[in-house]
C-alpha cells in the first residue's frame, strides 16, 4: 500500500496506509533534528511523533530550524 500526502505543498508518496510521524521521518531520511511539523494545521510536538499518524491526503508542513540569529 502507498499513500499520497502533501509535504510542504508538494505531493509525496509514502509506503503504508497510515504511518507515524517518526516512521515518515525514517522513510524519507529526514535526519536533521530541529524542526517543526504541522499536520493539517495542527502542530505536533516532538513527544507525539511516535503516537501521531499521518494519513492519506494529509497536508504536512515541515520547517527546519537552523541555529543563528
Amino acid at each position: 500500500m502507498t499513500m499520497k500526502i502533501l509535504l510542504n505543498n508538494r505531493s509525496e508518496e509514502l509506503e503504508g496506509e497510515s504511518i507515524s510521524v517518526s516512521d515518515m521521518l525514517v522513510q524519507k531520511k529526514f535526519s536533521y533534528k530541529m524542526r517543526i511539523i504541522k499536520i493539517n494545521g495542527t502542530l505536533i510536538s516532538k513527544d507525539k511523533y511516535d503516537t501521531t499518524n499521518i494519513n492519506d491526503g494529509d497536508d504536512v508542513q515541515m520547517l527546519y530550524l537552523m541555529s543563528g540569529g
Binding site: 530541529m34 524542526r35 517543526i36 504541522k38 494545521g41 502542530l43 510536538s45 516532538k46 508542513q61 520547517l63 527546519y64 530550524l65 537552523m66 541555529s67 543563528g68 540569529g69
Partner: protein
Amino acid sequence: MKLAEIRAHLSKFRVGIAGAGGLGSNCAVALARSGVGTLVIADFDVVEEANLNRQYYFTDQIGMSKTIALKENIWCINPGTTIIIKQEKLDKGNIVQIFSGCNIIVEAFDSSSMKEMLIETVQTKMPGIPIIVGSGMAGWGKTNDLRYRKIDDTLYVCGDESTEVTDNLPPLAPRVAIVANMQANVVIELLMNNNYQ
C-alpha cells in the same frame, strides 16, 4: 497611503520580540522606525564585544543588559515607541504571560532548540497569534536564497532554511540584518491588512 497614516495605524499595535541579538535588535529598530506602538523585548543576556559584528549595539554598551541598551538606542531613534523590557530567560512556563496582549511575535533566538521551544509554545498556547521565525542566515552572499515563506496564517519563516551557524560559517551583519528586516516587513504587512483594525 501616506507615511503619517501608516505610522498612525501601526502605533495601535504591540509586537513581541523573543531575543535581542542579531535578529531581535535589528528587527526592533526597523519596527520602531516604522511607528509600531509598543514592543515587548525579552532577553536575559548582556552586550558583548563579539555581538557588535551584527547586533544593534555600540562599544560603550558592552556589559550592559541587551534589553536596556536596546531601549536606549530605540529612544534615540523614535522616542514615541513604548518599550516594555523583560529581562528573563524565556521558557514554556513564562512565554504566554510575557507576551500576553501582543498582536504578533517575532522569533529572534539564535539557538535552534530555543526556536523550537518558542514556536511550539506560541502555536499551542497562544492560538491565532502569528509567529515570524528566522531560520538560516549564516555566512555571506547567497542573497537570493534568503526568502520568506508563509506556512499558514499563524506561521511564517524568513531565511534560507538551510545554513547553520558554525565556527567556520559565522553570522555576519548583512545576512542577519536582511532576515531581521524581512521579519519586520512581514510584521508590517500583517498589521497593515484588514484583520488588524
